[in-house]
């Protein structure tokens, strides 16, 4: 039986405004990326058009905020307490557990390392969190913690790519691209898919938010951390005000004259693009004026509006989603604790925990959490064994661990207040409810209204999916 047939949208058929209008989804994929240019017609073979899809079922989430903890946080120090590791500290893992796993930086006989942190239960649901993540406790009952995530990739770049694009090498569309491809955007002035990065440099690079083989309008638009997050949105000094206004006017005027002569609709698209750009120049300062949030909200996030930070990015993410942005990813790279897992964890939690909690709380109190999905996690986990390497100046670290790690979800149709999955006494293998990256991706698409097996894009003669040929929706995660 065929399972991955293309989604057929009658072509040429109604235009996308009509399709999306009919679904109450507003404008599709049109902001920044796309301004109503005529879609390519179906290929001669009669295959699918490549415009936004109709959702397969009613979406539970209309937006996603992904807090990507790049570098991979230590689940053993934050979510998955293992007294056995403390008990047996310094002793090697039993070979029955270790199997034939090999590591880049640690010996097979490396001793296990107990967590240096206390764990406590939070909220009515009793979600367990390590002390550096205690600030997250205030939203414990809104979280769904998955302690049984696993991945196929052992290294940062491939694992980050897998989590974000469903494939271990660059070239595939990212999750945000799929979301916008499927649902379009609700904002006329802002990009549908925004990416920020607040930590150190990213292993996966810009392929993490690329549209891959999809049209480039589905690529994430990067916001920088400084005062002017959108690239080139500020008019250069000396050209502001009337100079810029007259420039827009002149360019529009001459483009219109040309359009009259040539009759090419691409010119009209460009005129519209310049109009949007002008609106964006106006909208951007309002968007990024975080002072307008008021002291209480700033304090909730722990955000200094004038200083680049993860907190600032979280607050900006809420404002973006409020304004109709479909998918926001905040990368926070810096969790790669090959050495000093204790200090690395504390530092990163100090930078991110309060703001992550604040984001969930803020979304909730504004009534946005119901249809905004928040996804927190890294690309894999960290080993129960210690990493020590005098030659590289490393001690008390943990190496990469694809076999088991922890993520949490909130909002957007997720069943809150539960912890799913379990690992063995060493935290090495999953013992209950394994959830693969593909399963998570299938579930995220499900919440956005799509059957991951039917949301396809044809490239090079093949209908591609985010989940390749894998994955299944995890019903237990759903509210």
């Amino acid at each position: 039986m065929q399972t991955n047939q293309p989604v057929h949208v009658a072509a040429p058929g109604p235009n996308r405004r009509e399709i999306l209008g009919g679904l109450g989804l507003g404008l599709g994929g049109l902001a920044l990326g796309d301004l109503g240019r005529p879609e390519a017609r179906a290929p001669l073979g009669g295959a699918a058009t490549q415009g936004p899809r109709a959702p397969h079922h009613r979406p539970r989430a209309r937006a996603v905020i992904q807090l990507f903890m790049a570098g991979a946080p230590s689940q053993l120090d934050l979510f998955d307490p293992k007294p056995t590791l403390t008990e047996l500290e310094g002793q090697p893992l039993p070979p029955s557990i270790l199997g034939d796993q090999r590591y880049a930086f640690i010996q097979r006989d490396a001793g296990v390392l107990g967590s240096r942190f206390d764990f406590a239960r939070h909220g009515d649901s009793g979600v367990v969190l390590g002390s550096p993540l205690a600030p997250l406790g205030r939203v414990a009952d809104r979280l769904c913690v998955i302690r049984s995530m696993h991945t196929d990739q052992f290294n940062h770049a491939p694992a980050q790519l897998l989590m974000n694009t469903g494939f271990g090498q660059p070239g595939r569309p990212s999750m945000g691209s799929w979301a916008v491809y499927g649902l379009g955007s609700e904002s006329r002035d802002l990009p549908a898919y925004v990416v920020m990065s607040t930590g150190s440099g990213l292993s996966g690079g810009s392929a993490l938010w690329s549209s891959g083989f999809m049209p480039s309008r589905f690529t994430g638009v990067r916001f920088r951390n400084g005062k002017e997050p959108i690239l080139n949105v500020a008019t250069p000094a000396g050209f502001e005000g009337p100079v810029q206004q007259r420039t827009f006017d002149l360019v529009g005027q001459l483009n219109r004259l040309r359009s009259e002569v040539v009759g090419d609709p691409e010119i009209d698209s460009r005129i519209a693009a310049f109009e949007t750009a002008a609106r964006l120049q106006v909208a951007a300062p309002e968007l990024t004026d975080l002072q307008s949030e008021g002291a209480a909200t700033l304090a909730l996030y722990g955000c200094d509006p004038d200083k680049p930070s993860f907190a600032r990015a979280c607050l900006l993410a809420r404002r973006l989603v409020e304004r109709g942005v479909r998918f926001v990813t905040i990368f926070h790279e810096g969790w790669d604790a090959h050495s000093d897992v204790e200090g690395t964890t504390v530092r990163n939690c100090n930078a991110t925990a309060q703001a992550s909690a604040a984001l969930v709380e803020d979304l909730a109190r504004r009534g946005m959490l119901d249809d905004t999905l928040v996804v927190w996690g890294g690309e894999f986990g960290r080993t129960p064994m210690v990493e020590t390497n005098p030659a590289l100046g490393r001690k008390l670290g943990r190496d990469h661990h694809p076999q088991a790690f922890t993520m949490w979800l909130a909002g957007g149709g997720i069943r809150a207040g539960q912890s799913i999955g379990a690992t063995d006494d060493f935290g090495f293998h999953i013992t209950e409810d394994p959830i693969h990256v593909y399963d998570l991706q299938a579930t995220i698409l499900h919440l956005l209204g799509f059957d991951h097996e039917r949301l396809t894009f044809r490239s090079a003669g093949r209908d591609y999916r985010l989940t390749d040929v894998h994955g299944g929706v995890v019903q237990r995660l759903l509210a």
Partner: protein, 972 residues
């Protein structure tokens, strides 16, 4: 036999083929693994099966109906069903896919509506007539000049050149114009950029670390190849297998960089072989897309669902591309050799006078040297070179060379083990000497052997085991000559190679590219007459095996024997007579001063640097493996690296043309198979790609997929005619350009009435010209040229023009983008440093590829971010300032009108219409007034260092607006 001869005219076999592949092949196609009901619809059908098929497609019963309603809820379109039934009624002749049938030269249709006798026009006119469309007339000369200039050299046509063309009365004026463009240096740069998209060229390695690489000589080779109009088949053969050509030139080696543009993962935890596997997969996929127009990648995991390529055949292609080593090639540089020789000689002279700088407060030089000399004499050992009689390593090929050294080649891993067996020695063996030897064949001159990860030349011996006579011989000490300065003058003794800890060992210690020596002392000697075996473990978080080394034995030695004195000197020292010769003394003085006298360590280190050979430009190449050390290729189950199955021999898909008689079954033979005259795809694919660049779309609109799932050609006969014509004209790309661009179809105007446009919105029938948006690189180059800023310099290492802050900082290691100075800011865009994980912002905004995968066709998006970039990007601003200053100058010399026209025309070629010029002048006046009243804005607008002239600011504002016009970023 042609298709038409087989089929009755009323059946469109290609339509049938399309319906079958779209709806049926997934379960009833070439892939045996997923096949249902043992039914193949890409092969001849027997009557029973044909009858059943007819029943099934006509059935209303969802249990019976085909295609199955679960997969195709809407069922077959009526026309498709009718076509299938008609096909079955007609005896279901086998519908061979069009592109697998070799092209045959069709007869030229008669002259059509355009009145042009040009062969291209005859085909196009015929199709237009069928579609009931009337072609637009030829565009005016200004539009043509701009179009042809942008297409061929990627720069706008200068106004005076266009004027000359417009005024020319000769009938062949446009042809002569084309000839000049084809001969211009910019032609090769423009065409090279197209090719680099296919070659997935970049200046960094990709993945996490994404470190810089040197492969720009390949980019320059591509430019030179287009300059020389290298016939396309030679162009391809040299890139795929230049190293295997008889008497291959350096250039032909450089050309093999095509498939070295794959990415390289240098992350600590990786298995390098896994990422080499991914790189080969990329090579096969790219080969398919670029030369065959086939989506071969589909057959990596299972036999192709639609095209006749089995998984075994896929890995058969892989085998051709999987048998090369992947070294850096050092480019010959006689001038640098001469400079080195001169510097070397001068440094030696200085070395011989270095004792004059001996510090006065130290022990006097002569005394100190004498003491050291005596110690060397005492430590001198008569080493006997030991040649292994048996060598073993999992992946590497170990060969004993004439001087007794072992040379390693092949694939290193992060933990290589060498096992070396030695015949019994006539004397006891109490000490072993290891010489790590430099060698120009090795990366960074050695002694390490890994090209692809970690510092080039690095090695790391972690463990050493000695066995013989049925027992282990444990070590008492291990001394090295290349201890770090921190270890002091004394020879450092290490337990690092026999402590059982793989994280410690003997490393290159910063002496890469030089000889280092270690001596292992045994607790008790291996008695004479006992054969022995050494086991050497190498590696850390990057591969670091020794590439060249020699082993010698002695009955006994002291730790001081681990010395970097060369063997001649050691032998002379061991000789009571020779040791006093002047020659030996000079040599020893040099060694002492250079590396054993901390008293003048600083000066010695500087001299050491000057004695070292200077760096050379290198480039990444293929080098076929030696015949006795081929790399085996396996079929991989599900296409996964970790699931190798049976061995696969190099082979080509049986559905394609035959292997050429007498060609070797290697990469060269494969390249010759690809370019063979009976290849049905090779010429069609390239002709289609060139067509697509000139006409906005290919005749086949899926230029990377000529397979069953790709689109069928809009003008199949024209495509075949062009493919054959191209071959007959010696596969000259310049000729092909000339042929296509002299057609009326190419020269049509873009202007068209709405009704005509609505009749063919996608312009399949070519009644008008397309107005493709220009690539980001062309937009920047055109702007630089109009501003009079474009540097004419060609070739050389990549440069960094300005771009907004914070672009590259997002990548691993947060690298800074330090923009270049002077001319480097104004070079043509194809020389811009291409970082894969953080591409140059302006180009990326305009859909340039990242170099992470082959890109056959760029997207042509039209976005607000592009609007913002054109107006506000720092590079565009810098150009606008230069452009404004130039126009300001024209204004002073010739007046406002002249300057406005000059600005307009430098960018857009055509003269402005009166209303356009008027709008520009009004704009200029308004900005002029604004700036006159705002000196602060003038200073800001013109930037630091410029004379704050309000006039210049107004012209800069005008230039900035011109650069943002739709027409400035579109081909006319």
């Amino acid at each position: 036999m042609t298709l038409r001869a087989q089929a009755p005219r009323s059946i469109d076999l290609q339509q049938v083929r399309g319906v079958l592949s779209e709806h049926c092949f997934a379960c009833h196609g070439p892939d045996g693994a997923g096949r249902e009901a043992d039914l193949r619809l890409d092969r001849p059908l027997d009557e029973d099966r044909a009858d059943e098929l007819r029943r099934r497609i006509l059935s209303e019963d969802p249990e019976l109906r085909m295609p199955p309603p679960a997969a195709f809820p809407e069922g077959l379109a009526v026309g498709d069903r009718e076509a299938l039934v008609a096909w079955l009624d007609a005896g279901h002749p086998l519908a061979e896919h069009w592109s697998f049938v070799p092209p045959s030269r069709p007869a030229l249709p008669s002259v059509g509506a355009s009145g042009s006798a040009h062969p291209v026009d005859r085909f196009v006119d015929e199709a237009l007539a069928t579609a009931g469309l009337v072609p637009e007339p030829v565009a005016d000369r200004f539009a043509l000049a701009r179009r042809a200039s942008l297409d061929l050299v990627g720069l706008p046509c200068a106004p005076e050149v266009a004027d000359a063309l417009a005024a020319a009365t000769r009938t062949d004026a446009f042809e002569r114009f084309l000839d000049r463009l084809l001969a211009a240096p910019g032609y090769a740069e423009r065409q090279a950029r197209h090719w680099l998209d296919l070659a997935r060229y970049a200046d960094t390695n990709g993945y996490e670390k994404d470190r810089p690489r040197s492969i720009w000589p390949y980019r320059d080779w591509v430019i030179r190849a287009f300059d020389a109009d290298l016939p396309y088949d030679r162009f391809v053969v040299e890139q795929l297998a230049g190293d295997l050509l008889p008497d291959a030139t350096v250039d032909q080696h450089i050309a093999t960089g095509f498939h070295r543009n794959t990415m390289l993962n240098e992350e600590g935890g990786i298995d390098p072989r896994e990422f080499r596997y991914h790189a080969v997969a990329d090579r096969v996929a790219t080969t398919g897309a670029v030369f065959l127009g086939l989506t071969l990648g589909c057959a990596q995991c299972h036999s192709h669902k639609f095209d006749p390529v089995s998984q075994t055949e896929y890995f058969g292609l892989w085998a051709f591309l999987n048998n090369a080593d992947e070294p850096d090639l050092e480019l010959p540089d006689p001038a640098a050799d001469q400079r080195d020789a001169a510097r070397h000689a001068a440094a030696l002279e200085e070395l011989d006078r270095l004792d004059q700088q001996w510090p006065s407060d130290a022990e006097p030089f002569e005394q100190r040297f004498a003491g050291w000399f005596d110690r060397q004499v005492a430590a001198a050992v008569g080493w006997r070179t030991a040649r292994p009689v048996e060598l073993q390593s999992e992946q590497l090929r170990l060969v004993v060379e004439p001087d007794g050294a072992v040379f390693a080649s092949g694939d290193t891993t992060k933990h290589d083990v060498y096992r070396l067996r030695f015949a019994a020695s006539e004397v006891p063996v109490g000490a072993l000497r290891f010489e790590a030897l430099p060698d120009p064949r090795l990366p960074g001159n050695g002694p390490g052997t890994s090209y692809f990860e970690g510092p080039k030349g690095a090695f790391f011996l972690t463990e050493l085991q000695v066995r013989g006579g049925g027992r282990d011989w444990s070590l008492a000490g291990f001394a090295v000559s290349n201890a770090k300065p921190a270890d002091g003058a004394a020879v450092a003794q290490r337990e690092v190679v026999f402590d059982g800890d793989l994280q410690t060992g003997w490393a290159d210690e910063g002496r890469r590219g030089e000889r280092s020596v270690a001596v292992a002392l045994l607790r008790e000697p291996i008695p004479a007459g006992t054969a022995f075996e050494l086991e050497l473990h190498f590696g850390r978080h990057y591969p670091s095996s020794l590439g060249r080394f020699r082993i010698a034995t002695a009955a006994t030695a002291s730790p001081e024997a681990a010395t970097d004195l060369d063997d001649e000197l050691v032998a002379a020292l061991a000789d009571p007579v020779r040791r006093w010769s002047e020659e030996v003394r000079t040599g020893l003085r040099r060694v002492f001063l250079l590396g054993h006298a901390p008293e003048i360590g600083k000066q010695a280190e500087a001299l050491r640097g000057r004695l070292r050979r200077s760096g050379r430009t290198t480039t990444l190449v293929f080098r076929e493996r030696p015949a006795d050390h081929p790399r085996p290729t396996h079929r991989h189950h599900r296409g996964e690296y970790g699931q190798p199955r049976e061995l696969v021999e190099p082979q080509v898909p049986s559905a394609l043309h035959a292997w050429p008689e007498g060609q070797p079954r290697d990469r060269l033979g494969f390249a010759r198979w690809l370019v063979a005259d009976d290849d049905p795809l090779f010429d069609r694919v390239v002709v289609n790609r060139v067509w697509a660049r000139l006409f906005g779309h290919g005749l086949v609109r899926t230029p990377d997929d000529f397979g069953v799932m790709g689109q069928r050609p809009t003008h199949p006969e024209l495509l075949d005619w062009l493919a054959i014509e191209f071959r007959h004209r010696g596969r000259s790309l310049k000729e092909l350009h000339r042929l296509l661009m002299t057609s009326a179809a190419y020269q049509r105007r873009a202007e068209t009435a709405d009704a005509t446009r609505a009749a063919d919105p996608d312009n399949r029938w070519l009644a008008r010209a397309e107005r493709p948006r220009l690539e980001g690189e062309v937009i920047r180059d055109a702007a630089l040229q109009a501003a009079g800023m474009l540097s004419p310099r060609r070739f050389g290492p990549p440069v960094r023009p300005p771009q907004p802050d914070g672009i590259t900082e997002i990548a691993f290691g947060r690298p800074k983008w330090n923009a270049g100075e002077g001319e480097d800011r104004r070079r043509r865009s194809l020389y811009t440093f291409q970082k894969r994980t953080a591409p140059y912002a302006l180009f990326q905004t305009f859909d340039a590829p990242s170099g992470e995968a082959c890109m056959v066709r760029r997207d042509r998006s039209n976005t607000p971010l592009q609007a913002l970039s054109l107006l506000n990007d720092p590079q565009m601003l810098e150009i606008a300032r230069g452009f404004g200053a130039r126009l300001h100058g024209v204004c002073r010399a010739q007046g406002v009108m002249e300057a406005v026209t000059e600005g307009f025309r430098s960018l857009l070629t055509r003269p402005p219409e009166a209303r356009e010029r008027e709008a520009l002048v009004v704009f200029l006046e308004a900005q002029r007034e604004h700036y006159t009243n705002d000196p602060e804005a003038v200073r800001a607008a013109l930037g630091e260092g410029a004379d704050p002239d309000s006039e210049a600011a107004a012209w800069t504002a005008l230039a900035r607006a011109l650069l943002a016009l739709d027409e400035a970023v579109s081909r006319s």
